[in-house]
Symmetry: C2
Subunit: 231 residues, 2 copies
């Protein structure tokens, strides 16, 4: 696999990059410089598999730009989307803390600039810079809360409810009523625990009811958010 360095210019740009990562937000300039020395930036084309189930990747990856899909292959053999990661997020931590093989796949959905940090180096940073460990704890805890939310939603809510809740969540994070789905509807369906057919039907139903408008390029306009939240 051929990979290119990001910002071949020099260390300075790399340091700027590292400083913008939430994980290292609390570090001082000198500490940042130390981290920057060990971090290796790479640019990955769209649809690149970063690691797969069964692999024992040896690095923590930090997304600078782009989008990464985390998914599993179920016993029945089909893909189940777990989570979508974007700029500032990290992945590959599960094989670091467990020391076992990954049970999921990570693939880029767009061209993505990603920094890698060897597990050994990360371990050292966790011990010397406690704020990094605390930040990781915060992130994992939040991920856990989100995943638990997905779980109870899939167990207890019907399809309409889940679709509406997803649209409202994207709308809230984008701060707009005219949102663009970050991923394909197929992936949205998987994330919500639905088939693409069902998602398509629910969205059509919402549009018929006058609550939303469907536009090309995965753009959806929300007209009646109260109606959606009442589902």
């Amino acid at each position: 696999m051929h990979q290119h360095h990001v910002h071949p210019g020099g260390e300075r740009a790399l340091e700027q990059l590292v400083a913008r990562v939430p994980l290292f937000a609390q570090l001082s300039d000198s500490e940042l410089a130390e981290v920057a020395r060990r971090v290796v930036p790479h640019s990955h084309p769209r649809n690149t598999q970063l690691y797969g189930a069964g692999e024992r990747n040896a690095s923590l990856m930090i997304i600078h730009s782009g989008l990464v899909k985390i998914y599993r292959i179920t016993a029945a053999g089909h893909e189940q989307v777990i989570r979508i990661l974007g700029p500032g997020d990290f992945l590959g931590e599960s094989t670091f803390v467990d020391r076992s093989a990954a049970d999921h796949f990570a693939v880029t959905l767009e061209k993505s600039d990603i920094c890698s940090l060897q597990h050994d180096d990360l371990h050292a940073y966790l011990l010397s810079f406690p704020s990094v460990a605390v930040k990781m704890l915060e992130t994992l805890s939040r991920r856990l809360a989100v995943t638990e939310n997905q779980l109870s939603s899939m167990a207890g809510d019907d399809a309409d409810h889940r679709v509406a809740a997803y649209l409202l969540a994207v709308s809230a994070s984008d701060q707009t009523d005219r949102l663009r789905l970050p991923i394909t509807k197929k992936d949205v369906a998987s994330l919500l625990g639905l088939t693409p057919e069902t998602l398509s039907r629910k969205l059509a139903h919402f549009e018929d009811s006058g609550w939303i408008s469907l536009h090309p390029a995965r753009v959806i306009e929300l007209h009646d958010k109260p109606a959606l939240s009442l589902l």
Copy 2:
């Protein structure tokens, strides 16, 4: 609410207690003593709510003995079991790392001895004893993996598959083919994203097929594990 101290005897016993908690496994004797000084032990009767959604409990709780159920109330208004915690596990960390209110409930399923540690103290320990932070990371990461497993299982696998997988998991952790369900079937059903009726039918079906035997007191005997894993 009235609570009693565990081991009113003295500090020494408390230190022994703390030493057995995985979270503090790596600490030296002097460090353990320091932790033990801040930890407050309590004994809770069965069916005691430790904290609820909306509350902002200010302590990390560590289970010494007993069983705790973590659950949510879904939009539809029914209880969704998220996870069961036992001796050595901790809870209440979500309100520590986020600084927001809990979105779930914690209730004892048996009489439970639980140590509390103020969030402020925990924060101090995380900074001074990095191994504690790393241990918390490991735990949260594993919980995340388990929850993701539940998620993809609920999305992709049918009821038979989930029930069989659960029986095999309990059997594996108990190291026996004659297992006792740690929780009521009602709670098992919720954990698996099923109704109690469906779980009951699946178990009856398994028994009819000769794969298991159902006994009183939630005891189940597995006769044909290969058959169960093939579902």
